[in-house]
Symmetry: C2
Subunit: 404 residues, 2 copies
């Protein structure tokens, strides 16, 4: 397996584009994106569990219920959620794109991200679709990635190649996500493409399995979005024998998918709204995986832990506190905590009580941009990792006046 260039266009048969169509006022910012596969692809998706769901999710779910799709369209700047005519607009987006690309509108994955509860006009989208088609290109992944960004400050893209039965396959993805991020079963907007030949059923299984340990373990602010989804299109053009069961080829595919999704999780957490640091919480020695996850997410979601990390303050008592209120089965008298970064690792708590440590060294470790909070429990052998970010002045600034 190796990292390659190309993003969502790395896989054979995929092209992409991103343009400014006018949903946003800022003409410098691309606000709509297209991903297209020459060949109809098997498709799988996971969606937010929020009961308030964006209209595009309902339309997408219906469109890919047959297991196939050929294009993805996504606008930023407006979530098309809690609007009386949301479904109508989302379907119109599919119709217009289907006509332009000469494909079945039912083979379109549609997504929207941005403000909730403001009507989405079809006019800028209608004028943007011909531009998107005209600009479709094998080099278009970065433009598409920009088109789906909202408060993101960094473009999120990766692609990897891997081999199945001697055949080279590729998989790539783009993601957006910065605030309102606390996935529960599904998360954020992530679009993945691959030329690997895999059945729709196995593709859905691979995605649903993978997200349990990747996107579902990310939190920026504890708010589960209304519009999050992860979709994957597999057009089979690599030419490998179709994957239809959990064999070696499936395992290889899962590894490649996981490399991509872990990378995107880290990028999303590290680019959390206002964030200056990526936080990683590693839990080991838990009684089982479920409890390991409850603990890791409780720590990564604690406003007090997040604020302490912003201040590079080794306030480990807040880590213990977050473990204690997590609701997990845990013996709090057997908890070990250390902080780790590129500058080293320092133990701050053993058997649930503080140990003497150098505040100076701790500060040096915590001043880095990527911090790991390591928690060793004495309850069993299960482990997990969760990702988050620090809580900063800028998070408050960004969200104090997001709409205007």
């Amino acid at each position: 397996m190796k990292i390659i260039e190309g993003g969502v266009c790395a896989a054979t048969g995929f092209s992409a584009s991103g343009v400014h169509c006018g949903i946003r006022k800022n003409k410098e910012k691309r606000d709509i994106a297209l991903i297209y596969s020459e060949k109809k692809a098997t498709a799988a998706a996971v969606y937010t569990t929020n009961k308030v769901k964006g209209a595009p999710l309902t339309v997408t779910k219906n469109n890919i219920s047959d297991g196939y799709a050929q294009a993805v369209i996504c606008n930023s700047g407006n979530a098309n959620t809690c609007n009386a005519n949301g479904i109508e607009i989302a379907e119109k987006m599919c119709d217009l794109l289907g006509k332009e690309l000469n494909i079945d509108p039912k083979d379109v994955v549609v997504a929207s991200t941005g403000v909730i509860g403001q009507p989405l006009n079809i006019e800028p989208i209608a004028s943007g679709i011909p531009m998107l088609k005209a600009q479709l290109s094998r080099d278009g992944s970065k433009n598409a990635a920009e088109g789906i960004m909202t408060t993101d400050t960094r473009l999120k893209e990766l692609s990897v190649s891997f081999e199945i039965d001697g055949v080279e396959c590729k998989i790539g993805g783009i993601a957006k996500g910065s605030g309102m991020i606390h996935p529960n079963m599904a998360t954020m907007l992530v679009f993945i493409t691959t030329d690997c030949n895999i059945s729709a059923q196995m593709l859905q299984k691979a995605l649903s399995t993978d997200i349990q340990n990747t996107f579902n373990m990310v939190s920026v602010d504890g708010d589960t979005s209304t519009n999050d989804m992860v979709t994957i299109l597999a057009n089979g053009m690599a030419g490998n024998k179709e994957i239809t069961e959990e064999n070696e080829a499936y395992k290889t595919f899962m590894e490649a998918l996981n490399t991509l999704t872990v990378y995107l999780c880290r990028k999303i957490a590290g680019d959390g709204e206002g964030a200056t640091k990526l936080l990683e919480c590693e839990v080991e020695g838990a009684i089982d995986e479920k409890n390991a996850k409850i603990i890791a997410k409780s720590v990564i979601c604690s406003s007090l832990v997040k604020s302490a990390m912003f201040g590079s303050d080794a306030n480990w008592g807040r880590v213990l506190c977050a473990i204690g209120y997590s609701g997990a089965a845990v013996d709090v008298n057997k908890v070990f905590v250390s902080f780790k970064s590129n500058k080293g690792e320092i133990s701050v708590c053993e058997n649930g009580a503080g140990v003497d440590f150098s505040e100076e060294i701790a500060k040096e470790i915590l001043l880095e941009e990527e911090i790991t909070i390591k928690i060793k429990l004495g309850d069993g052998s299960a482990k997990t990792v969760a990702w988050g970010c620090d809580l900063t002045y800028d998070y408050v600034r960004i969200n104090g006046d997001y709409r205007t």
Copy 2:
């Protein structure tokens, strides 16, 4: 029932004091408090559900297991939690105070609040106890209230008088609480005194019932503290007939208790770390009380709702979002939302979708210091209220470097 002066000393037989003993470096700040009842009182308490518990809670629980207490001692500046010798220190505090006041050390309620995981020295406390005794006074409630404050900016105290069978009774309380506030079954530090004559069993019942709709409905930052508790001492000196069952007198007592606790809840939420606004979330029309509470707390805890309120931004989509991910049983297509303050009320969402409203009027309403988010559901007739505060730059500043 009427509001009176005196705080925890309003009830007959109670006196209090607060002094600086040296736990904190700032000599201007009282850091230890005492409440004393002339007569042994029935006692009841509720405690945090955090599995990591402050040592003083364990000692207090043991001490009042017989239903009686006569004094409360509480220091700020150090939580005496996650310390190897925590229990020993907490017991020592009771022993020293018992000796000084000539009461049984087992009749002492002990509490600590402040940093977690730093050893608590007994020396300053040992030297402070004689000062506390010397300063005990019927005017000491405000000094005691200051002695338990940490990042609180405002003193929290109230007392009310009420009548039972023609006998005047009084109840008063002090509270501290500003950060790490997300009670679950019990919360924060609140000390209540009354001269009402009520059995230990009925006192515990009254307290346990009341907190379900008061302290358990407050959240500042979603972090459930390790050291929170609410205790109440009733010395019976008002001379009413002892309350031993759920009769009219019990109902009157509950009303007085509730007046006191709702006031303290609002004070704690409004003085949340860094807060500029008190947020109140009223939910009505829920299918049942449990679901009403889940929804109200989800809204009040949302970092995005809290940030929007800081910015006086009528971003109601985030309210809908928080309702949607709350996990409550709710028909999101029947949700009405309005924002209300002293400046008026404005409807922003009807039947789950946005309505046209004046951004100018909304801004004027949201610029006030006390905001009510009113949510009307179409699922039933249950209702509730939750309290919280906005999320501000100062929350991050305070918690980015709390220990130093």
